[in-house]
Symmetry: C2
Subunit: 347 residues, 2 copies
Amino acid sequence: MELSTAAMADARALHARLTKPPGSLGRLEDVGVQLAGIAGECPPPMPAPAAVAVFAGDHGVVRAGVTPWPQEVTAQMVANFCAGGAAINALARQVDARLVVVDVGVAGDLEPHPMLLGRKVRRGTDDLSAGPAMSQDDARRAWAVGEEVAALLIADGARLLVTGDMGIGNTTPAAAVIAALTGRPAADCTGLGTGVDAATLAHKTEIVAAAVSRASRRVHRSEMSGKPAENVVGEIGGLEIAALAGFVYGGASARVPVVVDGVIALAGALAAEAARPGVVAACIAGHRSTEPGATVALEHLGLEPLLDLDLRLGEGTGACLAVPLVQAAARVLREMATFDAAGVKER
Amino acid sequence: MELSTAAMADARALHARLTKPPGSLGRLEDVGVQLAGIAGECPPPMPAPAAVAVFAGDHGVVRAGVTPWPQEVTAQMVANFCAGGAAINALARQVDARLVVVDVGVAGDLEPHPMLLGRKVRRGTDDLSAGPAMSQDDARRAWAVGEEVAALLIADGARLLVTGDMGIGNTTPAAAVIAALTGRPAADCTGLGTGVDAATLAHKTEIVAAAVSRASRRVHRSEMSGKPAENVVGEIGGLEIAALAGFVYGGASARVPVVVDGVIALAGALAAEAARPGVVAACIAGHRSTEPGATVALEHLGLEPLLDLDLRLGEGTGACLAVPLVQAAARVLREMATFDAAGVKER
């Protein structure tokens, strides 16, 4: 997707005529210009209603001891989402966003629920510290789930997509994907996740480094297809990361802006951008997670986050909190009076 | 106002039981704890609906050439607020906040409007570079207007107050009040406002320095009453700054949280805190304005802003954008399930 330079120029020109000192809305003006560029019109359409998709998957690498949380918490949290009791539920209600949960690869069985889309590609990944996390075919299927969910939400009326994730252990594959796709050392990309001790962090970093090294050998070998970036996600990523890549791509393809959350979503966005360059133009970084890989990915993608509130929860919480800012950016261009119309003197 | 330590301890304990890794909502958790402390109960009541009060006043110091904007723009912008065309209108609609405009000292005459509260104390201040901006009695009357408006909005149902301001030239008195009340040099507190050139900035800084110096001599002289902090606002401040001090105090007295905007509101909050220590406990800093005096005031008050988006518009825009974050902080404590209730295993 390419931004419309004409619509962006119109948005900049409109900003200069609105009843405020030029540039005085700072970053909000930049977001408004981007929204115009994505939509190809000025003023941009309201990026509302918003819809959050929480992609849930499990990770074989938990067997290698990268997190203190038991794997069954992924399924328990999916039940909690469906019951409305998780952080993302409270925040989605706050910003009037629809919330759907997508089982793209939870290990356990899940009770059906109207909020839950059953799209299980497989019951979690294999242990990426011992071999490929999944087959390339599974990764492609998970990507397709993400694309399908984006299309489905847009068909239902969503005009702003918000990335969410749930998966015990998923900061390890996210760090691996980010290190592999940015070329940065594992130690720069691996963090405390939802809370590990120093020894576990060192162990986790070693696992990420070894996985990246193996992936860089394998994904370039002739037996794998000619798509290294996509193959990285299959080799050392996760099902929800692949789905998030497809989801970001799906939003961008439909010219619907995507608010990207923390380190898991950014791993997906990196994969999407590597596979389909230009996708990042539709992305708005919701926040800066405390996870170091998030900052590495943001820098690589050239994204400046809207919020920096020391969040490290995932689920889409940081992106969800940024939704009113994105909507405000459009509203300013759509609703503010010009100096001429309001009869306000310019300096 | 003192925060309830019992309610804050309850909020911290509740946060530890909610279905998320402890501390993973970062600053949002701190705001939730503060809201519990302000209300004296846990979970805190929803800080909704929000109400923005834009206090408008004029400034004699514009005659000294501190801004390129003509003074009549204050009145024109009040008309723009009433017509719904200003930035604060768009943002208040975005966050479902009521908006009122208070004429506490606009120089010109204003058309009556249901949104406009006519509380003109006087037709703008005198030129603070030549003598006192107003009498101490006028400053007290403006403070009382702010207190009255806070009480009125709360009586009408507001449970979150948002500070707003309009007044061509008002970054000069704000810088002067901040410099005088923090003891920091004028150059650290004086900025570009809505956009001046380097020569005007140097001139503005000299005016601020001279005003602070005069104020520090005058407000401690025996002929003035024993309230130096309040007198500073009369001597070198502005009518909307005095009103904002009263508004912040009014919110705090009623134990209603107040989201504080940029440099003008922070000058008012500093004056309120100096006059009535403890008021700041009810304040939440909405954002970090690019105006340097804002950062000086935030540091002095011990406030860490929620947003940092390079805004420098005023009107309450930055504070308004933070409203959903504050409401989300309460919502998390009010609506999230505990590990026990949700049947989610703790690590």
